[in-house]
Symmetry: C2
Subunit: 345 residues, 2 copies
């Protein structure tokens, strides 16, 4: 055994990845972009190939007490597609590896697969491989997605420039409030037979949590309107974390206007009901799978005409750091308080 | 909950995969070959892209009481490279996803990664992405490997023809006997302080279990000698299982001569010591990561000159099925008794 032992929770997920992958310089001609973006990029002649992967573990990423298996399968596929769209590409193939504990039957796994299949049908993706195995505890889902982009179409995290506009699709915080709702109803109903959870008027936030979509439409709309983002990332860990990723990769700072953060009525109303700060849900909630991107200031008018895209701020010099400009005029530095894969006790 | 519930162990791993993937026809132009071979094939203009994935779970695929973490990392990478070589391709990129329970420290994971890094360096593969997360129990390793092959170079499982020669690289059964040795020494040493396992004269079988190699050299040698296999597969689950896979995919039968199965002296000696049948270890042991392939009968002379390749049998009409011709002249039908990912109690 080694002498020094460092708890992984002291590094966090991104610190761990940085540490583990720093000694892996890319050597192959076809390897164009490695660790550190939504997907890796490989050069294949006239096309770029993209690859991304997500590992979902029962008890860490999902709770089968309130997530139906079909929805879980759908979401497990979608989160990978979202990473490919965030590179400006199109998802084309997935591999699905499953670790299955003995409490799952064939019918359970078929239900899970029916969700994966539905996502593949809707997004035009082929299932091309995978691996299945027993697992000693719980369900393990590992999905890898391959995508394609035409030469020059790939959008990295690293291209944001000073004065660029910071834009986001859809609205934020809804998936997180949907999770709060599911957890509350699960607590309330625990041990009660025939308990019927009350989801009336909250369908949107539930759907955002249980059946998120990847923003294929946004990638297409930007292209149709002749807009090529200078940088892009998908919002999986909360707006704060993603703005910080863009700033770090691009070597810039950013300002986000609190009042411009798009929030749905149901998200706000659920937050009020639970006495939570809705802006914090948007900043740190995560699982929105919206696209956060930057465009040159000169695209201001074009972006203004797009439905479902909000201009929420702008890119600054790196010295200014990343901050939110609050409604009352304060500058609040952004922190990556999003979902942490390695929680400290 | 569904009405009918089928235990997964009644289907086995391959039955489960068949069942789950039967409703996924390939639709994308770039998807050339899906589930059912060592790797999937994608068309990328002048090259073919290959993808394969393996999920390794603690307590199912490895036991950290006798597998050092560095060896585990090395082997986890190698098993993926082997699948790419088995398609006639070259591995180029991997993604590594880890689920890590709280008993692992940064130093443990760095040790695991050092093995992955070593394998990548030796085989010329780039690490391009991955995912890390906490896990509630044990270590989860999911590796996906991308490879490349020139147009027309891909070798599938499905091309074997009647009268083709059946060939295998290296020798078989050693990794399995290495595992038996490790398990024996672990039992013997259990609870004994300062116990020193006795591995003298057994280095080869230990290395085959703990630090297997992928047969990059065989793929290169075949090419140099102008031999293109008609079908190929890597030996991961034992010779029986792999011959059956080739026969099923190619719609043919096969005969394997017992006396021609290549077995190392240490493998035979360990089997004798443990009173086990060494041919059964070769047929059903698995984890050899050798290449099993077929060539036209006309390549007989060329193959005969190659070092480290054995001609072990031939391909027959499908009606004859797959069987081993024993030393005493009997025909023993092959059964896939190899390692089962879903053991029945």
């Amino acid at each position: 055994m080694e002498e020094k032992q460092t708890e992984i929770s002291t590094l966090g997920e991104f610190g761990l990845i940085d540490r583990l992958t720093k000694d892996f310089p890319l050597k192959n001609e076809s390897s164009k972009l490695g660790v550190g973006d939504d997907a890796a990029v490989m050069d294949f002649g006239d096309k770029e190939a993209l690859v991304t992967t997500d590992l979902l573990l029962e008890g860490i990423h999902f709770d089968l007490r309130y997530v139906p298996l079909k929805h879980l399968g759908y979401k497990a596929a979608i989160v990978n597609f979202s990473d490919i769209y965030a590179m400006g590409g199109q998802p084309k193939q997935i591999t699905v590896s499953l670790g299955i504990s003995s409490r799952f039957t064939l019918e359970h796994i078929e239900t899970l697969y029916s969700g994966i299949r539905l996502a593949c049908e809707i997004y035009g993706v082929d299932l091309v491989g995978g691996d299945t195995s027993a697992s000693t505890t719980g369900l393990v889902i590992s999905i890898t997605c391959l995508g394609e982009a035409a030469k020059g179409e790939v959008v990295k995290r690293s291209g944001a420039k000073e004065t660029d506009l910071l834009c986001v699709s859809g609205d934020l915080g809804a998936a997180y409030m949907g999770l709060q709702l599911l957890e509350r109803e699960n607590r309330v109903g625990e041990g009660k037979k025939d308990f019927q959870p009350d989801f009336a008027g909250k369908e949107y936030i539930l759907e955002r949590q249980l059946k998120p979509e990847a923003r294929k439409d946004i990638v297409a709309m930007l292209k149709e309107n002749g807009i090529k983002p200078t940088s892009m990332i998908d919002v999986s860990d909360g707006l704060s974390s993603e703005v910080l990723h863009l700033c770090k990769a691009s070597g810039v700072g950013a300002r986000v206007y609190e009042e411009r953060i798009p929030i749905d009525y149901q998200t706000a109303s659920m937050a009020e009901e639970l006495n939570m700060n809705v802006v914090m849900a948007a900043m740190n909630g995560g699982e929105d799978y919206e696209l956060l991107f930057t465009v040159p200031l000169s695209d201001h008018e074009k972006i203004g005409k797009l439905k479902g895209v909000s201009m929420i701020g702008y890119i600054t010099k790196p010295e200014l750091g990343a901050a939110m400009l609050s409604r009352d005029g304060n500058e609040i530095p952004l922190k990556a308080q999003g979902w942490n894969a390695f929680p400290q006790d």
